[in-house]
C-alpha cells in the first residue's frame, strides 16, 4: 500500500477513509434497547397498577425505571468509553443532544406535575426530537423513522385521556422507535465488529 498515487487515486483514498471515519460511532444500541425495555415496563406498570397502588398511579414506576436506566447507562458508558478504539466528535454531539433532552424532560415533568397535567405527550415529542437528530447524525434510517413515529404518537397523545390508548401509543412508539432500531443497530454494530 505504498506505491505512488495519481490525483484520482488520492481522491478515492481520501473519500473512502473519511467515509469510514463518519461511520465510526461508538456502540449505541445498548442504550436504545435498555431504555426501550425499561420505559415500556414502566408504562405497562403504571397502566396495570393505576387503581391498585397510589405510588404507581403517581409515577413511581418512572422513577424506578429512570434510576435503573441511569445507573446501568453510566456503568456501560464508563466501560465502553475505556474500550472505545476511536473518538468521533459526532459521538459527543449525540451525547449533548441526549443530555439536553434529559434536562428539558426534567423541566417538562416538573412544570406538568405542578400544573396537574400528564407530561407523557410532551416527553414523547421530545423523545422524537432527540431520536430523529441521532438518526440523522448517524445516517441510520430506522432511528429517523423512529423519531417521526414518536412525533406522531406524541401528537396523538394530546388528543386522548384514555389510559389504554395512551399506554398503547407510548409502548408502540417505544417499540418501533427504540427497540426495533436498537436491534437493527446492534446487528450492524456486531457486523462491523466481526468484519
Amino acid at each position: 500500500m505504498d506505491q505512488d498515487l495519481t490525483p484520482e487515486q488520492s481522491l478515492k483514498v481520501i473519500e473512502s477513509m473519511i467515509g469510514q471515519a463518519k461511520k465510526s460511532f461508538s456502540r449505541m444500541s445498548f442504550y436504545f434497547l435498555l431504555w426501550g425495555v425499561l420505559l415500556i415496563a414502566a408504562m405497562a406498570a403504571t397502566y396495570l397498577l393505576r387503581n391498585g397502588s397510589e405510588a404507581f398511579s403517581q409515577g413511581a414506576s418512572w422513577g424506578i425505571a429512570g434510576l435503573i436506566g441511569g445507573i446501568l447507562s453510566s456503568i456501560h458508558g464508563a466501560r465502553e468509553g475505556r474500550r472505545q478504539p476511536v473518538n468521533n466528535p459526532m459521538d459527543r454531539v449525540i451525547g449533548w443532544i441526549w443530555g439536553a433532552f434529559v434536562i428539558t424532560m426534567m423541566i417538562v415533568i416538573a412544570a406538568s406535575v405542578s400544573n396537574h397535567q400528564d407530561p407523557g405527550g410532551m416527553i414523547t415529542l421530545l423523545t422524537g426530537f432527540a431520536t430523529f437528530l441521532t438518526g440523522q447524525i448517524m445516517r441510520f434510517k430506522p432511528l429517523i423513522i423512529g423519531g417521526v413515529l414518536f412525533w406522531i404518537a406524541g401528537l396523538a397523545m394530546h388528543f386522548t385521556n384514555d389510559p389504554l390508548t395512551l399506554t398503547a401509543l407510548y409502548c408502540g412508539s417505544m417499540f418501533f422507535g427504540y427497540i426495533i432500531p436498537g436491534l437493527m443497530l446492534k446487528n450492524q454494530e456486531d457486523g462491523l465488529r466481526t468484519a
Binding site: 505504498d2 488520492s10 477513509m17 475505556r82
Partner: protein, 94 residues
C-alpha cells in the same frame, strides 16, 4: 500552467489513508487504523513514524484495560498539510 507540488509525506497511499481517517475523528487507536486501512502492522508502524517525524500526527502510548495501547491524532500542522494537499489535488483534477 504550473501545478503546486504535492506534499511527499502525504502522497503515499497508506499515509494519506491514515491522515484522511484521522481528519474525521479526534483520536484513533492503532488497531482501529489497522482495521480501516487494511495495512500490515509493520507497514503501518513505519508510516506512522514518518507522519510523526513530519509533525503531522501525535502518537500517545498508554495502557487500556491493562494492555499497551497506541493512539494517534492529527496535529494542527497535519490538518494544514492535509488541507493544502486536498487543494493541490483539486488543482490537478481541474
Amino acid at each position: 500552467m504550473a501545478f503546486a507540488p504535492l506534499d511527499p509525506v502525504l502522497h503515499n497511499q497508506l499515509r494519506l489513508a491514515v491522515v484522511s481517517l484521522l481528519v474525521g475523528v479526534e483520536e484513533a487507536d492503532f488497531t482501529f487504523i489497522l482495521e480501516k486501512t487494511g495495512a500490515t502492522r509493520g507497514n503501518l508502524s513505519v508510516q506512522l513514524s514518518k507522519l510523526k517525524e513530519a509533525g503531522y500526527i501525535r502518537v500517545k502510548k498508554t495502557f487500556k484495560e491493562n494492555y499497551p495501547n497506541t493512539s494517534c491524532a492529527l496535529t494542527p500542522q497535519g490538518i494544514t498539510a492535509f488541507e493544502q494537499y486536498v487543494a493541490a489535488i483539486k488543482e490537478y483534477l481541474g
